[in-house]
Subunit: 250 residues, 2 copies
Amino acid sequence: MNEQDFLAGYDPRDYPAVAVTVDVVALTIREGALHLLLIRRGAPPYAGHWALPGGFVQPGEDLATGARRELAEETGLGGERLRRVHLEQLGSYGAPDRDPRMRVVSVAHLAFAPDLPDPVADTDADEAIWLPVTALTSRQLAFDHGRIIDDGLERARSKLEYTPLATRFLAPEFTVTELREVYETVWGHPLHAGNFHRKVLSVPGFVESTGASTERGGARGGPRAKLYRAGDARLLHPALLRPAREETVR
Amino acid sequence: MNEQDFLAGYDPRDYPAVAVTVDVVALTIREGALHLLLIRRGAPPYAGHWALPGGFVQPGEDLATGARRELAEETGLGGERLRRVHLEQLGSYGAPDRDPRMRVVSVAHLAFAPDLPDPVADTDADEAIWLPVTALTSRQLAFDHGRIIDDGLERARSKLEYTPLATRFLAPEFTVTELREVYETVWGHPLHAGNFHRKVLSVPGFVESTGASTERGGARGGPRAKLYRAGDARLLHPALLRPAREETVR
DNA sequence: TAAGTTGTTCTCAGATTGAGTTGTTCTCAA
DNA sequence: TTGAGAACAACTCAATCTGAGAACAACTTA
């Protein structure tokens, strides 16, 4: 069966119904811990379980647009602050039995956001909150969302290696230490401060100096840190590789 | 609108129809050039244009299963030879106007295959052939398949860096030179033979020796080469990075 | 048998990395 | 006001990795 079987006049309703949804694995860093935007389901199936924000793709709407819309609805975010959120496609999940009600193919997306205010309850009766990723077991998650989250976390860890997207977790101006803390939080282990500093400044286009410094030193002392903003590189050359490990375990 | 709006008893036919297809960017290497499996469309839209092999996801069928089925149908491949083809999800394409007939979300896949026999014409009146990727302009391609192919080629180039999947373009036993030629073909530029050799043998789990050698030396002379098979690594540590370039252009 | 090709190993300089040290600027509390 | 501790930023140095080229033996064809 090929696409050319889609002849003009073909009636899609003759075909087995498939619904297409977009889901979003939205990550942010709060108080030094990686957090994930989740919604508590009120109705069955999986009532009381946590689920990713998501919903049907609307007619006339691109997949990425749908994901950004879902993110906006659940976070109450809009305008410039929404635009600064990094959003990319993660992958599609279409196991025939992943939703007990009908065939649903979900196009999952991955978002990196700076620390955002707590979600406001919207018109839906949903409870949407940022939860630390460490506080989750896949038993508490609806559908195959545990698997999607695992894939999203692994993608996030890997993206930090070869793209400058760690800056998307921060305000427009940031210090090298703040940037290092993003890496340490997402990768889950400490990095050598001096080597990280050298590396970040040596990779072309990763960060550019603003010329300014922080108002104050660190909370417990230390000099004022220089401020940087994201550079214009889309990829890091050479990459910032995470230290070799046996296997990545969650 | 959230997934919890999928209440039991919800009738999917009330919802705007979306069709889900799987498409496959299948790559192989023939006569030192990267080739792509394409199908010439007989019927409008895009009659006479080249398109990726693909079709509807069948009920009860996983996305990856559907992609492998489409690949099998177009190549006539089955059994062990089909199983040795690497297949991974590439991404989903769902722009509202990508198909003029109706809303179609395509889940594209990427396949790496060893040199295969020419496709046999199957029950469809399709003409399916392996075409060199250099012989393509996006004007000759149906739908957004030019874009999908570009994404697939970039993914392939990138995958060779940090996975051992280059071996999937080769027979179960191969020489280091054959492996290097895969890299040179996919990346599009020559590599230093000595350094490549050193690197391949030093990365743990990339290849393992069979103990045997080729029957004959090279076509124009030279010693017999040692034979290797793929090792058990899923990822290359450290990676085999392609030389830095300004920007990857196609 | 000669000439040329190729697989494999080696050498060496330059770049990159990991680990630790130093100097200075700052905060907090005595 | 000052001392103690913290943190930013720069540096050092050894170990490792990379790029480029050379060497050499094993093979081919002419």
